[in-house]
Symmetry: C2
């Protein structure tokens, strides 16, 4: 039974993990016979009211604690996870991936990655274990691999401004439709646009399910 | 395109909607070609830390605002929804269904239902539109239909104590396995145990997907 690490970044599209993407990921992995190991960084983060779309002034919530909602309590601090614990790693999207795992949402190509997230990504890549990134999460991977001057291919769909920011960090960005995914075989890297392009949950699921089938084949 | 109301109760298994059940519901409905109308009551509720399982003293969150995380912001106050807006209604589970839509989790068979939730359930049942309840949500339906002295059948799986509480409120409780569902054809009522019995997300999905196929057939 392959063990796949699922890196969460909170609970909700505007300040955490995109919930649909995270649950579709967990369901597809479980149906394929994989064991899932949910994890998140133990940091506080800003809160967005998902009814109004507005920031909630003065409130913070802990990313590990909120991610535990998606994981039904079964979750680990990413600082305690090493490459030996997983056969593959996957990052659902949502603004949390670009706000809490790195600060791409604020600083664009000048962003930095959370150190423990960057450490685990580097361990997985250098161990030649496969890694998948969904939606905006490829921006985080771009930052880490770009810092290492490692040539690599990723997609965030077709948004020109976001694609340019990834190119600036060192990614060879490949446009991709919502129901498809991009493979970088040299780095065992897979990415799919999901809600960067999806108009509904069905469209997001199609690309994610294909991505996970490919991820498991690469183990 | 049938319109199906999805009644949420927060965001997280211990104080809101069970997130897996809610997302599996939205995905199955969307894949079957249904339009989903998410709704929740506009009330404040207690908060559980999902990492520790403990109540967070002194903190409340708004059920409509937190449910909006699952609905990606597309959600209505249930007080503004009438039976004319939907062709069917479905309740995902999670403790929120038993804490925020009614107080079954605290008072058992002595519980009361949220008045706007009770109103919409009564409208749907008396209009002979189908209604599905997942996991612990049948306890809420039991309260409402029991108060009306309406003979009906539901399942919460096989837990004896919970089943007895439903019987006490007026339900004919039928035991049911995790991958199955119970139909009450006279009231167009469908129920499935999901995480009342499921050991993993795949098991929960199987019963929910069958339930939704049945719900849509009944429209």
């Amino acid at each position: 039974m392959p063990k796949v690490g699922v890196v969460l970044s909170g609970c909700g599209v505007y300040d955490g993990s995109e919930i649909h993407e995270a649950v579709i990921t967990l369901l597809a992995l479980n149906r394929a016979g994989a064991e899932t190991i949910c994890m998140a960084p133990n940091v506080d983060a800003a809160v967005v009211n998902h009814l109004t779309g507005e920031n909630v002034a003065g409130e913070t919530r802990n990313v590990l604690v909120e991610s535990a909602r998606i994981a039904r309590g079964e979750i680990r601090d990413i600082a305690e996870v090493t490459v030996n614990d997983v056969d593959a790693l996957i990052f659902p999207g949502g603004f949390g991936a670009a706000k809490n795992l790195c600060d791409f949402a604020i600083k664009g190509s000048e962003c930095s990655a959370h150190p423990e997230v960057a450490r685990l990504v580097r361990e997985v890549i250098s161990s030649k274990k496969p890694l998948a990134a969904i939606c905006i999460a490829p921006a985080l991977i771009s930052r880490i691999l770009g810092d290492d001057k490692l040539a690599h291919k990723l997609t965030i769909g077709t948004d020109e401004e976001t694609a340019e920011a990834l190119e600036k960090m060192g990614t060879d960005h490949i446009d991709c439709s919502v129901n498809n995914y991009i493979v970088d075989p040299a780095n065992k890297l897979i990415s799919t646009p999901a809600y960067m392009l999806a108009g509904n949950i069905r469209e997001a699921a199609e690309g994610i399910e294909k991505t996970i089938a490919e991820l498991l084949k690469m183990i």
